[in-house]
Symmetry: D2
Subunit: 139 residues, 4 copies
């Protein structure tokens, strides 16, 4: 997946506590949960309240089009991990996110990913992002 322009993007940081529910019997975090942490971090960057209003008032939402994740290291129960996110605007319909999960004292991300989001209306057709959001994300 291409990753243009992330060198100029602001890094947002978001903390996730790892609970019982996050692990599986192998003793580490179940891999699909990393995708959830990425999503939580994106919601924090955009604002959950903003997302709710956008959906209720304008019928606009965001969906994952592509998600490419690499898991380098297991993450354990009781870990407090940092999700680091950068975003670039690909078009008025698309954003690309570079996201990483770091454990305390790690020398590389435990997990890293590129997530491409599309902006959809309630009929799930591509629709332009609100200008205010593009301005905020691009800033």
């Amino acid at each position: 997946m291409p990753h243009p322009g992330f060198e100029h993007a602001i890094e947002h940081s978001f903390t996730v506590q790892i609970y019982y529910e996050d692990t599986d019997f192998s003793g580490v975090v179940y891999h699909a949960n990393f995708i959830k942490y990425f999503e939580r971090a994106r919601e924090q960057v955009i604002g959950a309240g903003f997302l709710k209003q956008l959906w209720q008032n304008q019928g606009i939402g965001f969906a994952v089009y592509r998600c490419d994740m690499v898991c380098n290291e297991g993450v354990e129960f009781a870990d407090l991990v940092s999700v680091r996110s950068k975003v670039v605007i690909e078009s008025k319909y698309r954003t690309l996110w570079q996201q990483e999960i770091w454990r305390d004292g790690g020398t590389r991300p435990a997990v890293s990913g590129y997530i491409e989001m599309v902006c959809l209306n309630q009929a799930r057709q591509l629709t332009p992002m609100p200008t205010v959001l593009m301005d905020n994300l691009g800033a």
Copy 2:
């Protein structure tokens, strides 16, 4: 919680395979997942297709009002458990479900619960169940 009339209710059986995602690092199924298996079993009894149409065409759905669960025994990865469900109609607004999770060769349920469901409209107000559903569940 009272449990009237279950002696006359039909028992429905539903099989659940336990996957990695269901367990936590203690090695057994994470307790909140039992609540999900109960829900899946109820959806099978009522019919997922029926539930979807009811929501889309009449704006009617079901919500858990109360859930009382006892966990007697751990359930393990790779188990194939049987969810046994009985339902009684408490009123045109409410159903009460007696549900149990059995492991292969078990002498008692690994988990048992009573779940009280209410019928709601999309404004989340109590609304009567469709007659056809009451007839089906009561049969």
Copy 3:
């Protein structure tokens, strides 16, 4: 379920942000997730790091024996809810938790529950809680 002595118990408060992952297509939080928020809040009271060490060093953990939950009100995407928890020690093997989920500005809990926890060894046999934990929880 009996609920002795909660009037003297300290109330612990824990905040949960409601994300996309928490909701279902009916528009509100999927009911089994409330059980997860209760668990997260208990882990915070006891300490996730303490729980991890207890498991790794002494082979001691905690399991839900009984969970009785009442859902009064739907909880929505983007809500920031408060989980309020009180605990009493029933015996050296058992704790009982009174837990509630409050929405902003609510006049009653959206969800309330009693959760009975047992202390188990890795063979899932009842085992006494560490004294230090009993002291902490009872304080």
Copy 4:
């Protein structure tokens, strides 16, 4: 991600029923759940009982190293989807899976992905797959 040799691989099919728990308030399946369905399908191909024994008797398990997923279409509550899986053995440490999720009557996969799995011991070090598994998957 490269995808060599899938043209000679057997296609395994696995059915998933979409429940309430799978959806979010946007009305379709929450994207991280597709990753779970891929995992369930892989467990069925390899055999959950075999995976359990391998872990308990030899301390060997499998972890997702990389997951690259494209979501073309929303999947809805009550859908009965087909997960189609092909696997190639990359080395004695690695398998690559091509997996797709098809809705009834679909003309292309709703979701498709490549998942690279590694074989690990309980210290999470690369370890060779059991020969019997390589034989089975390669057949």
